[in-house]
Symmetry: C2
Subunit: 325 residues, 2 copies
């Protein structure tokens, strides 16, 4: 029997689906107050598995959750709801777990967030809302996504999910990734070296890279200065990708014309942060993946992997140990 | 030689493409001040053709433009940029012209407007902007379009253009049209009689019907009362489709939860109109088709038809005389 640690809210959602495994797992749940309990009663367990997701990572008891995971005697398997691995807690967990699996089910949600930001920019949402607030009947011509060219830095799950949608809408997509090749979500794939010559042409520059030493501050003063006017800059990757001082200077200079940001160097952003009150910035609180649909898909990934794990079979989305320092 | 009447701005855009026909047409242009001129010099002409588009219909000299069309001695052909025919001026022109052709190139623009409204509603744009304005770092879970069901009343060019996009995003589409059949933009096509039972299930109810005696006030008190809570109502058809008193009462009662409106019973909407200052209304000034891309596509439709007309061949999108009273 394996101990199964997860958040109480997650457990309530998947309890019925866990029943078939009742003789192989012993659930241990943590609620938002940090209280632990055994909803099916306590059993002798040999090792543990953990399902860590947004309920646990972003709830008020996140610290207790991580502490519990890191003090488990034996961690057979950790399923994360996230694709990213660079958070220090996830690094520590990856170093401890026998097997670590990730999930890419947030990509579709994030892609929809990106489309929201894209439509609102090209349709002049800021001006439309100003006209409505002032009861002004004015026609504001707008631009169709079908006519736009997107440069997507980082063409993994999120970049591909965005790219597929933009192409379905008739737009043009240039994806940037080291491995090259072709992809149905892109008209072309280029290498990072070719980015400067594309910055001068793209209508949208989207960052969905992971945070590594190579990508840190990849969007700096030169990056923004190379853009053409009227460019929309979007970051749904990590705050550390962007030199925020350079971005603010770039916005003041009109390159980019607008920034849509879901991630920041400092999170939560402080109340006196420099981005909040700008008309040329659209910002949300690191929540571009926060949909019930992404949560349900991630539950499914965990439950599928649980069946494989308990059957002694190889799981999906296993992350090599070399990814954890 | 045929006189060719169009707006000066349109002429400037297509003059190069008109050159090959220089010995068959004599352009006559009208500018925003209502001034008429012959940019290629005045020639003896036998009959006239007219290209009427948004430059002419919505510019400050619209009245002079229509008056000129209706006082032409002989009108061989009128190309409209619009799909709709119910405007009294277009009815009068249709009754006068030997041939009347329409255009459906606005559908793609309007479909993008509809997606803008849909994304902003399901992603809680109103609350996101309030949080940003108040410098509040809060996570607002949202809903993916992939999980939504759209009921589209009027499944012609616009409805199909919306439906294709929603399906590409993973959503479900029910189209409503008299002719039935199947369509790649819809999971199913139903008849108008089946609408009441679908109103209780749809997440979005979109009107893109023409205005006819049958469709006038089709969205009234019963229509809104049948919706489930949290429904988004969108009208990009005609203002006359909606009983606005019933809509306002419906919004007050939460059915629909939100309305996105580009058309109104009275246009322009007066400054003291009842919709402007509601948080549960997104409104624009009858401009959902106003893109440079739609304009360029419509220019192409006219130029293609011009080549056919001058070659004595049948044109695309001819409207039967029976459509004009």
């Amino acid at each position: 029997v394996k101990k199964l640690l997860t958040h109480a809210v997650t457990f309530a959602r998947i309890e019925t689906a866990l029943k078939p495994f009742a003789d192989q797992i012993s659930p241990l749940i943590i609620d938002d107050q940090g209280q632990m309990s055994h909803p099916w009663g306590e059993s002798e367990a040999d090792g543990a598995i953990v399902f860590g997701n947004t309920d646990a990572f972003f709830g008020p008891a996140a610290r207790e959750f991580f502490k519990t995971v890191l003090t488990l005697e034996k961690l057979d398997w950790f399923q994360s709801s996230a694709a990213g691995l660079e958070h220090p807690m996830l690094q520590a967990i990856g170093g401890k777990a026998d097997v670590y699996t990730s999930s890419h089910q947030q990509s579709e949600a994030i892609a929809e967030w990106v489309l929201w930001a894209g439509f609102d920019y090209f349709q002049r949402g800021v001006e439309r809302r100003k006209a409505q607030a002032e009861a002004q009947w004015i026609r504001l011509p707008f631009r169709e996504i079908s006519s736009t060219h997107w440069l997507i830095l980082g063409f993994g799950g999120i970049g591909q999910a965005v790219g597929r949608r933009i192409r379905a809408l008739g737009g043009t997509v240039t994806g940037v990734r080291r491995s090259g090749g072709e992809d149905p979500g892109a008209n072309e794939i280029i290498s990072i070296n070719e980015v400067p010559s594309y910055l001068t042409r793209a209508d949208v520059v989207l960052l969905c890279l992971p945070h590594t030493p190579d990508t840190e501050n990849i969007a700096g003063a030169d990056f923004f200065a190379a853009m053409k006017p009227e460019t929309l800059f979007i970051n749904v990757g990590r705050g550390a990708l962007v030199d925020e001082t350079a971005l603010l200077a770039g916005l003041d200079a009109g390159r980019p014309a607008h920034a849509a940001l879901d991630v920041f160097q400092v999170e939560p952003q402080p109340a006196d942060g420099a981005f909040w009150h700008r008309n040329d910035v659209t910002m949300t609180a690191h929540m571009s993946a926060t949909t019930a649909q992404a949560r349900a898909r991630t539950d499914t990934v965990f439950l599928d992997n649980l069946a494989l794990f308990l059957a002694g079979r190889e799981m999906k989305n296993t992350v090599p140990a070399s990814e954890f320092s």
